[in-house]
Amino acid sequence: MPAESRRVDVRKTYKLFIGGSFPRSESGRTYVVEDAKGRFVANAALASRKDARDAVVAARKAFGGWAGRTPYNRGQVVYRVAEMLEGRRAQLADEVARGEGIAGKRADEAVSAAVDRLVWYAGWADKVAQVVGTSNPVAGPYFDFTLPEPTGVVAVVAPQDSSLLGLVDVVAPAIVTGNTVVVLAAESRPVPAVILGEVLATSDVPAGVVNVLTGKVAEVAPWLASHMDVNALDLAGVEEPAVARDLEVAAADNLKRVLRPRAESWDDVPDISRMLWALETKTVWHPIGV
């Protein structure tokens, strides 16, 4: 077919996902996303510090309501995300394959694993308190129990290599336990993250529970690390040790809980540690008497 009569693609500019909406970066900037072979894929929003700020505000606003949901309900909502994702497997597999430069079959497996991971985490919502909570047999007439509670707003630098499965692996454990998340997508492979945002927007996840930024780690992460209204910082996708150290230093300003980068295979079924690090532990005492 001659070029002049071929249908021209409608190319998409991927936007941010903040507070349930899809704004462009307030800075008006975008950057070019290429595939593994260096070919143009799309333009993505290049988030600025003000976008990070807006995302934290949205996450904070959503926190009380989300943490206040029953765990059963949170489990249902996260399971619904898995259902929605299942319906977009093909699109996601294409994007994962393109971005990560892996074969279609492996991309398929990664998407399947991501969906399965969401199902796994969804089931944890109403069990984690039973696994890590305790009744404490104190030496006195007191009823004393200890429960996990979400820490609040969790900022995450998503894994750079595993653009969907790795992303799900850092976001799902944080939200299923009641936290809200600001996640900075894999810098050079942000498309699956934005698609996930689109899935979340049409699922039952309340606005602001997950906020997706696309852009540069070096530009955005320091603002999240030093933000005094962020409670925890997951450095999963920070590859430079010196950058990770600087972010951890900044996080000390308000004593954020920090998860350092560690060697991790996103393919393995995880343990529960990614749920626990962003959980606080509350102990309640009450006298027993008549």
Binding site: G140, P141, Y142, P287, I288, G289, V290
Partner: protein
């Protein structure tokens, strides 16, 4: 200082009807059992030494309502007890007399005669002691009889059944009637029988109920039910008389009775008085201890303080 949610006006309203009375009593601040017991236990670690201890032991003797309330009481037994109460330690002229001798109403004439002008009062239990299970006219006749026979103080029991059934008005009205029967000849002590009321909330409500009805003293127990006087029960009652005076201006006395057998326990009660209501209640006019065997233990402690060696029971009279 207003220290109870209900102001003095609220107190006046309280006795207007059964429902206002109920509302008032249930509007009193609750008592947390664990907290109250912890406070009493904490105060029990206070250490009383030397001169303070000498003073406190004598005060405890002066506060005793020396008691015999047995089916086997005889005039001889009561006379012996009166002798002991007037001169607890015949070998020691500095030893004070007790506050009162507490007996059943039929023994009042015997006690009155034996005590004569010693200053030691005669207290009589009344109102179908200890159960209180009798018709009101029987209770009033019992009271009248004791007062007529010369009792200075009447220790009545409340109707715990009515209290636990929620019929506060009935309990109140009975106390009012007995108070009238006492006239101005006898002081009225109202026994709550805390061991049957079970909760501190009930003890606090019963304390207020008795005070609203005109009690001169509120008393923990008959001594026939266990537990009788415990430190936390006394604490709750002391808080009640403190708050009642703050609200109404009228001071009411407190008498723990039953179960206080050692000097250590008696001193712990005095420490409670000192820390909760202070000096104003540290006199036999406002605080009594109903006891029998306690007296000899106090005497032995006095002897230890005086001589520096431990005393033996053979050196103190048993009556």
């Amino acid at each position: 200082m207003t220290t109870v949610s209900s102001s003095a006006a609220g107190v006046d309203e309280a006795t207007r009807s059964p429902s206002t009375l109920r509302r008032f009593l249930h509007g009193l601040p609750g008592v947390d059992q664990v907290g109250a017991e912890a406070r009493a236990t904490g105060l029990a670690t206070r250490s009383i030494k030397t001169t303070a201890k000498e003073w406190a032991l004598d005060l405890a003797v002066r506060m005793i309502d020396l008691t015999t309330l047995e089916g086997q009481d005889t005039p001889g037994k009561v006379r012996a007890l009166c002798a002991k109460g007037m001169r607890p330690d015949p070998s020691d002229g500095t030893c004070p007399a007790v506050a009162a001798i507490c007996v059943y109403s039929d023994m009042v004439p015997v006690a009155k005669e034996a005590l004569a002008r010693s200053g030691v009062k005669v207290a009589s239990v009344a109102t179908a002691f200890p159960s209180g299970r009798a018709a009101l006219d029987v209770k009033l006749a019992d009271t009248h009889g004791a007062v007529e026979a010369g009792a200075d103080e009447i220790d009545m029991v409340i109707d715990r059944g009515a209290f636990l059934a929620g019929d506060y008005q009935r309990v109140h009205d009975e106390i009012v009637a007995v108070r009238q029967a006492c006239g101005d000849r006898a002081h009225l002590k109202v026994i709550l029988e805390s061991g049957e009321l079970v909760t501190y909330d009930n003890v606090r409500r019963a304390s207020w109920l008795a005070m609203l009805a005109g009690a001169d003293f509120i008393k923990t127990s008959t001594g026939k039910i266990s537990p009788a006087a415990t430190l936390p029960v006394t604490l709750v009652m002391l808080e009640a008389v403190r708050d009642f005076r703050d609200t109404t201006g009228r001071q009411v006395g407190v008498k723990p009775a039953g179960g206080i057998r050692t000097s250590k326990e008696a001193l712990r009660h005095l420490i409670l008085v000192n820390e909760t209501v202070g000096d104003d209640w540290l006199s036999p006019d406002w605080f009594r201890i109903g006891a029998s065997s306690l007296l000899n233990d106090l005497l032995m402690q006095r002897a230890k303080m005086a001589t520096g060696r431990y005393a033996g029971p053979d050196y103190f009279t048993l009556d």
